[in-house]
């Protein structure tokens, strides 16, 4: 199998969400109100990068004041540092096309949302994520830190403008992939940067169309968590192996991931499993998290001990990925330009708890 398919990468780069963007009614000062803007939002892009296109449509009706632009989806403020495609995959369980978003030019909700204020914060959020990914892959960020200003700027501009050729040319100098290539693997730590998003859907969701909208980020948990690309024997793992290392409690060798039902443990001790703690995956981390604000499937269980969850759907770049394909192939082809693979996992309460 090819290490990296140019066709697949091109499809990721060309992937876009059709957006219908409305100006929030509190900022409409003219009659008739301005019509919504229809625009394609690149999957790998970020919402603030669309502002220069959107703003001229609404400029004449805005109330006086200084811009602090932010977006919401049905009242939920959208985190601008999450790529647009990931927001769509995560928040629209059943894809909504066009995706109706609301833009606000005033009054950023600073308590829950980091203010953006232009392209620079987005660029640096991207570069800092790239550094984090480089650290995971190589054990240091030197390749990113030592980039020339010109390369750094070109890398960013290629993402902002959707220029895949320019991006590929500059990013290849970072020597962060593709996985499977001996020269790269010799330099690397064998760890893959993953950003895992977990969303628990409501009761009795047989059909994704029935999923209710999210009104708070508290019902979603997400973490950056590296995954080893090899198993203990040094063999490349499958996507399923990778998911098992992230969410070990939801996978079992004898049953498929989707049949398996987790019986919650009575307490949340780590059971002396200290040596394995780093490899025990995301649920291990969340087991530790006692914060009520950090809702996740484990804390849900602790509130209602008889309730169990199971995985309903795993989505990467809008695709339900086959669990048996090699993990490095998923990473090489479906990662975002900052070298993180963003994985959305939907959980539902299990129908027949064991």
């Amino acid at each position: 199998m090819e290490l990296c398919s140019e066709e697949a990468v091109r499809l990721v780069w060309e992937g876009a969400i059709p957006l219908q963007i409305h100006l929030h009614e509190s900022e409409v000062t003219t009659l008739p109100p301005p019509p919504p803007v229809l625009i394609l939002g690149p999957r790998i892009g970020y919402l603030p990068l669309l502002v220069t296109v959107i703003k001229p449509h609404f400029n004449d009706t805005l109330p006086p004041g200084v811009d602090s632009v932010w977006f919401d989806y049905k009242g939920l403020p959208l985190k601008w540092y999450i790529p647009t495609g990931v927001l769509f995959d995560l928040l629209c369980a059943e894809p909504e096309r066009p995706w109706n978003l609301t833009v606000h030019f005033r009054g950023n909700p600073g308590e829950i949302l980091t203010p953006c204020g232009g392209e620079d914060p987005v660029k640096w959020s991207f570069i800092n994520s790239l550094k984090e990914a480089a650290y995971i892959i190589n054990g240091n960020c030197k390749n990113v830190m030592n980039m020339s200003q010109t390369d750094q700027s070109e890398l960013w501009q290629s993402l902002a403008k959707g220029n895949m050729e320019s991006y590929t040319r500059v990013s290849s100098r970072l020597k962060l992939g593709p996985y499977g290539e001996d020269a790269v693997m010799r330099m690397s730590t064998g760890r893959i940067p993953i950003r895992l998003y977990l969303r628990i859907l409501g009761e009795d969701v047989d059909d994704l169309e029935d999923v209710t909208t999210i009104d708070s980020w508290d019902s979603i948990s997400y973490i950056n968590r590296p995954v080893e690309i090899h198993n203990e024997e040094g063999h490349y793992i499958t996507f399923k192996n990778a998911m098992r290392s992230l969410l070990p409690e939801f996978f079992d060798d004898e049953t498929s991931a989707f049949d398996h039902v987790l019986v919650p443990r009575g307490d949340y001790e780590i059971d002396g499993d200290i040596e394995n703690a780093e490899t025990s995956g995301a649920s291990g981390l969340m087991t530790m998290s006692g914060q009520k604000k950090c809702t996740d499937f484990v804390s849900m269980k602790s509130q209602s001990p008889k309730k169990v969850n199971e995985i309903k759907l795993i989505r990467v770049q809008g695709i339900e990925v086959d669990l048996d394909i090699p993990f490095f192939w998923v990473v090489n082809n479906l990662k975002n330009p900052e070298y993180f693979l963003h994985i959305c996992v939907f959980m539902v309460p299990a129908l027949n708890p064991a």
Binding site: I112, D120, N140, I270, Q291
Partner: protein, 217 residues
């Protein structure tokens, strides 16, 4: 087996109580080696040091005990002789990063009226060398990021050089008590927190081999 830095963060609270050397570390900090009167509190997932006061006239963060005399009831706000408008209260959280395999310092601050501090306010409280770093590298030294547990915006000190300077500091001796104190002694300086040299010295002279075997769990 040595306690590696991440293990400080994954041990449940009960382990702390029973684990001799780590307990000592926390007690030393709690009993006043670091910022008299402050206790580094373990939350599951992160360590926190909260309500650290900064008085405008001084470049150093001071403990609440310097403001509120210890014999007084805790709520005797009238004991404060400093105009409340210049008091900034900071919360520091130490969070283990699985990406960087190091602790990362997150912080936020607020004024006495509860208003959060923005970066301009915070800069007034930072030591000069941090201001210089902020001017030189606005986006790669301190940035406003999402707190990994609270999912709210907090300031974060970028960690990507940590491994290198920690290697130098520890000289190949990465046992946990040394690790966290040494780490804090360097990182804390960037935000004006000081770890007294007596604490780091005692840790360095104290041998190295913390082991899980010492835990009576």
């Amino acid at each position: 087996m040595d306690l590696s830095p991440q293990m400080i963060f994954i041990l449940p609270q009960s382990h702390f109580v029973n684990c001799g050397r780590v307990q000592i570390l926390l007690f030393q900090i709690g009993l006043g080696y670091l910022l008299k009167g402050y206790l580094l509190v373990f939350h599951e997932g992160y360590l926190s040091l909260e309500n650290v006061y900064h008085i405008k006239s001084s470049k150093e963060l001071v403990s609440s005990q310097d403001l509120f005399q210890e014999e007084q009831p805790v709520d005797s706000a009238t004991m404060v002789h400093v105009p409340s408008s210049v008091i900034h209260a900071y919360d520091f959280h130490i969070i283990y990063s699985f990406s960087y395999r190091n602790p990362v310092l997150y912080f936020h601050g607020h004024k006495s009226d509860g208003q959060p501090l923005d970066l301009d306010d915070i800069q007034k409280d930072l030591p000069e060398y941090s201001l210089k770093l902020i001017r030189e590298s606005k986006w790669t030294f301190i940035t406003f990021e999402e707190h990994p547990y609270l999912h709210r915006p907090w300031y974060m000190l970028h960690p990507c050089g940590t491994t290198e300077w920690m290697k130098l500091l520890l000289q190949g001796n990465p046992s946990a008590p040394n690790y966290l104190v040494s780490w804090l002694s360097v990182v804390g300086q960037a935000v004006g927190l000081r770890v007294p040299s007596s604490l780091t010295t005692s840790c360095f002279n104290d041998g190295s081999s913390s082991s899980i075997g010492q835990c009576s769990i």
